[in-house]
Amino acid sequence: MAEEEPRIGVFICHCGVNIGGVVNIPEVVKYAKTLPNVAYAEANIYTCSEAGLTSIRENIKKQGLNRVIVASCTPRTHEPLFRSACREAGINHYLFEMANIREQCSWVHQHQQERATEKAKDLVRMAAARATWLEPQEEPELEIKDTSLVVGGGIAGLTAALSLANQGFKVYLIEKDPELGGNLRKLNKLYPTMQDTRDILEPALKAVKSSDKIETLLSTTVSDVKGYVGNFKVTLAKGEEKRDVDVGTIVVACGAAAYTPPKGLYQYGEYPNIMTQMQLDEILREDKVKKAPERVVMIQCVGARKGEIRAMDLAGFPKSDTARLLAKILRAKKEEGWPYCSKICCMNAIKNSILVKEKFPQADVMILYGDVRVYKEYEDFYSQAREAQVKFVKHIEEIPPEITQTPEGRLAVVAYDALSGQEIRLPCDWVVLSTPMIPHKEEVLLARLLKIPISSDGFLMEAHVKLRPVDTQMDGIFLAGAASGPKDVPESIVSAKAAAARAGTLMANKKMSTEALTSVVNEDECIGCGLCEEICVYGAHYVEEGVSHTIAALCRGCGACAAECPRRAISMQHYSDEQILSQVKAALTGES
């Protein structure tokens, strides 16, 4: 029990009708007042509103509160807000506790109002039980080094590096290949302006080379990462030779790869004239076409959007040769691929179709698509292609196109055109497969080093897909370009500049204070077995002279070590055993 007598204030939120429409708030307020150590309780329409926060501040003073509980929504979005209210009113914000009576109560029990009210009371009682044991905590301040490491020398990496340099920071730019440029080096022209990739790449490369703030390291990869936000120690490897750099932030711009179909998928790899868009880009770029093609057929979503096929998808599908259809469905199911839409392939195919038309006006260019996903102003680009007399044919998942051959040994694509209900045969000279952007294998390794989670589709995961698109769950590490999912050049540039802004903001402040929610080792109990060091995914524990130590800045307070410790020598600040056990007791016994 803390030395001073706890005086808890409870603020219970209606959240409009979100909570108030289900839970009987006045009753909960009345109940809260009856709880031990609760000195004050009130209800607010929106505790997160200015009025609510003001009331918290005022009552801390008026009622002499030294603990505050807000019963409302999730700490994930709102705890920082209420904590700062406490701070502003002069009490340590670790003396704040939150009870989630929305997500964990009103939203899930909409149809059982009385019982929801009872549960809200339980949650408040539990919060009060823990609050009684809360203790003030300090947040150590960290130095932030004003140097950044940018991993990946593609357009995103180049952009991020340049932006950071222009903001006045020193940058290490590393690239695993012997030269900078990434995928842009392989590409021919860029949609929708049809500029030569060189026009985009060259200026960026020149600027990077001429910048005295950027140190470029080629054929270099990350082999180890130690430290934490503001103070990363990164080991770089160039072949055998290793080198350590100290940086404050890391921007991950390792890009994405183009999916290469497995040999045999659409007979890829069996005929020279069956190629990917990437290969067509190269052919057009190198201008090494001997004979003008009479017809070019492009097939979209090869290895993308490969969800399983369900019977109901077939509803409204014109009855044709069922047996043949089913056979095709089964084959389609077996086809390997990625579940997501790669987003850029439609525009990329249209780009190349227009280029082919320009080069060979007589050529008949057909694009076999599932949906034409030319979002944004790219719709106009689509119109441009139609005016150039490129033909678009919609096929359906259930009947993928098939590659066959004419008696004369010419390639022929057999496709079912869903919009005319006709099966058509397209003798052609080139078949071009549009394949998705997929995560690099190296990326997975890097993710493990950096301790960034990977999402179900294999790309690096953002801290919050909506609100924090370039942040990661690791402070000080940011994502730029296709590392976090397929992006075209302008999108990569925007995300790179965003990452540079976030990293720059961090470094410009030179200091930051960290969470106090960390593990503490009771050195008398610790036997230095090293179990904690083993299981800590953040590398926050190390054993020295037979005793384990915590690196506060790295510790995310997950508690794994505390649970694992055979001697119960590790406890979590702000989640002490007393706090948790009293909460459990309150939950189970109904007493505080």
Partner: protein
Amino acid sequence: MSELDLGFMSEVAGTPRGSGILLCIQCGRCSSGCPVARLTNDHNPRRLMEMIILGLKKEVLPTQLPWYCLSCFTCLDRCPQGGDVGDVMFAIRNLAVKHGNMPAGVAAQAKALYETTRVINPVRSALDKRESMGLGKLDTEGLEEVKKILKKTEMDKVISST
């Protein structure tokens, strides 16, 4: 399985009133508003546009398909791309006629035009009534000029061929 005519779409796009074909995104607003398409599955302007785009010339020009359209122009008003579907219908009817596909009714009107400057021959009773009411004869003073125009535009050939 249909073989495709590579040039059909450009042929249509090249005819006057045919350029709309290049704008089509197959959204289906024309077909769902078309009074004929609602009555028979044989006619579907959207599908017809697709068949032209694909190059299904043999399936279109010699058939009844070009002749279902009422040219009520509902589709012209509704096409979000300004594709003027109803105009494209005229374009393919012009091509169909070139390929000798012309309904008797149309041929009859063309013939009447060539012979009388009017596409419909008046019934006797109407002519009598005119006279009795002193409305004056229906003049055919323009006949020679009309014939010249039809010759110059080579429509006379079509007429004589039927």
